[in-house]
Amino acid sequence: MRWTHWALLLCVSCGDPLHPPQRIEKNRVLGAQVVVPGQEPRATPSRGEPVAVSFWMADPGTPAALTYALAVCQRDDTLTGIPGCSGGAIARSSGSGDPVLDFTLPADLPPGDRLLVLGVVCANASGVIGDVISGFPNALGCAGEGAQTSRVMFDVFLSPEHDNNNPTLADETIRLDSADWSATLPTDVTAPCAGTSPTVGADGAVHQIRVGVSADDREFDGTRSELSELASFSTAGELSRAFSFIEADSDATEVTLDWKAPRTAPAGGRSVRFFFVLRDGRGGADYSERTLCVVP
């Protein structure tokens, strides 16, 4: 590393200069998960097994109308930059709604330790432009004025080369200011929320969020436990950080972060959504979501 990088390192810790990644200001893909149906929480399918890949989406308000096109292929040996396919598509999927890709791993899949899922997710678009395999990434996009394009990629690690389970976040305790924070979600996040629970004032106060990460979720490979990486997002207010870690050699079982409430809210209150994505650094992931109401 050249000394130039030291200069960068001194600066990068100061935060994103333009807008923070933990703020959901538009339709975004937050993560993806691969499962072997019937063998949850295994995240590394074997040849011949069914595979389900799903992407988690987030919106600042009313969910956008989504269309998508996905494909899975064998990953090429690109080590720098954006990878591609070494052959044709193993499976494809397209449609509307949250993007998913279900397929069965061919039993005669050539040697290789991972597959590559790639594609595009379009918000408020009239359709997808381009072929997922041959057009990725530059010639793949979304049609329609005002359409929002999210090109995505995701590595699917295969067994037996890799062996891994998804961590579980949905059943973990998430607390707001030391109180349990249920996963009950409003049906309409744009509707007035006053009277729902939990409620906080629009006073700029700092609230503490604690996310439990069970030690059971951190697999042990014989030398060390998996790390846990929690990505946190909100539709309003200011989260203290986008990424939190429980390092591999740590005994910690929860992540703590601060959220600063907004200073304004409509008379009927405003729903603020929180999204949490937990990754194990080896291809396993889980997702959970919470909501609170900010009132004047």
């Binding site: 130039t4 030291w6 001194l10 810790s13 100061c14 935060g15 807008h19 040996d77 930059g81």
Partner: protein, 795 residues
Amino acid sequence: MCAPVRACVLALLFGLSVSRPALSQPRSEAVVTPPVLKSAPSRDVPGDIELTTEVSVVVELVVEKNGTVSEAKVVEGVSAALDALALQRAGTLQFAPATRDEETVAARIRFRMTFTPKRTPPPDPAATVKPRAPVTPAPATKSPAPQTPPAPTTGSDEPEYGGEVTVQAPPRGATRRTLAGDDMRRVPGTRGDAFRAIESLPGVSRAPAGEGEPLLRGTSGNESSVQLDGATIPLLYHFGGLTSVVHSRLLERVDVYPSNFSVRYGRVLGGVVDAKTRNPRSDGFHAVLDLSLLDSSALVEAPISDRSAVALAARRSNLDFYFASFVPDDAYAVIAAPVYWDYQALFVHALSPRHELRVLGYGSRDRIELLLNEPVESDPTLRGSVGGALEFHRLSLQARSGFAGGVRQDVSLTLGHVRLGQVVGESVDADLSVLNVDGRGEWQVPFGRAASLTLGFDVVTSFSKGSYRGSRPPQLEGDPRINEAEANQAQVQLADRFSNLSPGAYVELPLTPAHGVLLSPGLRVDHFRALKRTTLDPRLTARLLLFGQTTLKGGVGLFTQEPLYFETLAGIGNPDLKPARALHQTVGVEQGFGETASAGIDLFARRLFDRVVATKNGAAPYFENDGAGHVLGLELSGRLRAGRTSGSLAYTLSRSERRDHDAPWRLFDQDQTHNLVTALRQDLGAGWIVGGRFRLTSGSPHTPVQGSVYDAGTGLYRPLYGRVGSARDAAFHQLDLLVEKTWSFPEWKLAAYLDLQNAYNRQNPEGISYSYDYSKSEVATGLPIFPNLGLRGEL
């Protein structure tokens, strides 16, 4: 840009730009004329002094109103016998006295006393005879009087001062630009750093912030060599550009060969910066103490016998005293603030008038350690501890000898150790230790009046061991992905020992077939043991004195550079790589205008082939010799030294392009189409000096980002790049000003200075920062206006 980012960028650039101004000398306050030598002293030596080559002793004289010399002391000695002889003859010199406002006054001047062997050997065919002005000491007024006049910022082949006629060796290359003496320490905006001053020369590009390595004629810093007394300096600048690791007052000169250098130098495709240490003063104890915001330094020197002298210099940064005050509290904890230090120790012993032994030890250390309070949002692998240390030590033994028949010998052995340790959160953990043993020997043998022979060898060896965990080392130039998040890059881990041996030998045959004509054909052979390759580099330079002060010059030759060490390591590199090659071509004209001005024009071309580039997809064998490049350029230079005014002008027009594999030609990462540097310095008298430097440079090329792909596995976006190098930053321009006042006392001097950098607060672009998804961007700017005050005492 958000406030914290701006704060830390400014803090960094503040550190990068704090300057130590140049040394000062007392200056006159009225119109003066210097003493003029009436008759030249004898250059012969007595019979008891054996002398086979020409040598010079620099003495400091006090010339009284009647033109006689009342005081003399040696400033740069050769040996006890010759120093004594110089002092003896100095006392017999007669001058026309100096005047101030038409009144005769005493003056203190420096004078170079040159001695030649009793039987003058035939002129070295490798030399050209250049008419030299009579002694040109500085304007003089009250005692102590000035020494040399203000010097230009553009280097010259001319020494600062000299005797009436001097046989001056020609440049060891088609173009040599030299900074010497106070010249190299008096350039505004360089913090008095001789190595930073070379950026004011034509053919030397402005280095981006944090990358201070010299960029010579369209090549990378790692394609040029910076040498100190013939051995490569492992690290030129503290923290990538703060200040160089060698005390500038210990240097005699810095020669810059931007291309077409002699066969004496090898293993690089770009150019050579060759610095020489001076001998310690032998006329008593001397010391310099310099205190500035950036660092503190001291230099002491004294004779320790009638044949030996020693100089010691050391420097330590002051950054750690205030660094924490300039960083955002919520960004990181400072475990160990940036600290650097360096030292130099030089011992010189004259074994005889013909034989000199020199021992030079020097070293440097940089260290920083931070604890990031939060993971970096754009790359969460950057979290926790971030730190590193880079340290080196060198011991160089040098022997310089002259023998009968004008034969000269120069041999040296340099032992060195480099230690590098870095931890960057979870992404990089590196530890490297390298032992170096470098040797060099050169013999110059004259054959009559028209030819001489130079034979030499150099050997570079290294024994390394280390471990590395981090991203796979990329192609360092021309690949924008080098700046991507570590989390998005393939990780490697290795621990290994490796050694390298690269012997080289050369022969040069300077010929003077006719008066004013010098041809220097040479051949260099290099063997690269790690590559199992041997290369031959034929080179030719020519100089033709057309008439008066007009010289036509040119050169052509082949040059070779082995790959960077990691590019050939199995597992991350390709052991089957071969060296990269280059063809250099230069033609130019030098024109003198008396002693007050000179100008030059150079046209140069450089063609690169077998460049090492990464494989198209970054996969095995990782690197290939499948790159090409070319550089074309024009350099204009001018300098002026008239009375109390000195100035320089350097302009370079160039285009440097590269091609990787079969991709279209692209701009070199640090291509600079236009590079204009002009400097002016004025002696106002009464110890006051003012100066300024203005730079106007094309912005650096960059690769635009045209979109992004979200990696759901890491939660990070990966940029989609446009054509490499297809956009360019806005132009860089900056004005630096220097004001200095020196008070002179009988035994010492005190100087106070103000070095105002970026005087009109130009927000120069130094890069682009992007939002997390690359949908928005803004320009990161460099150094704001910064006034640097300092004090210096000199005994």
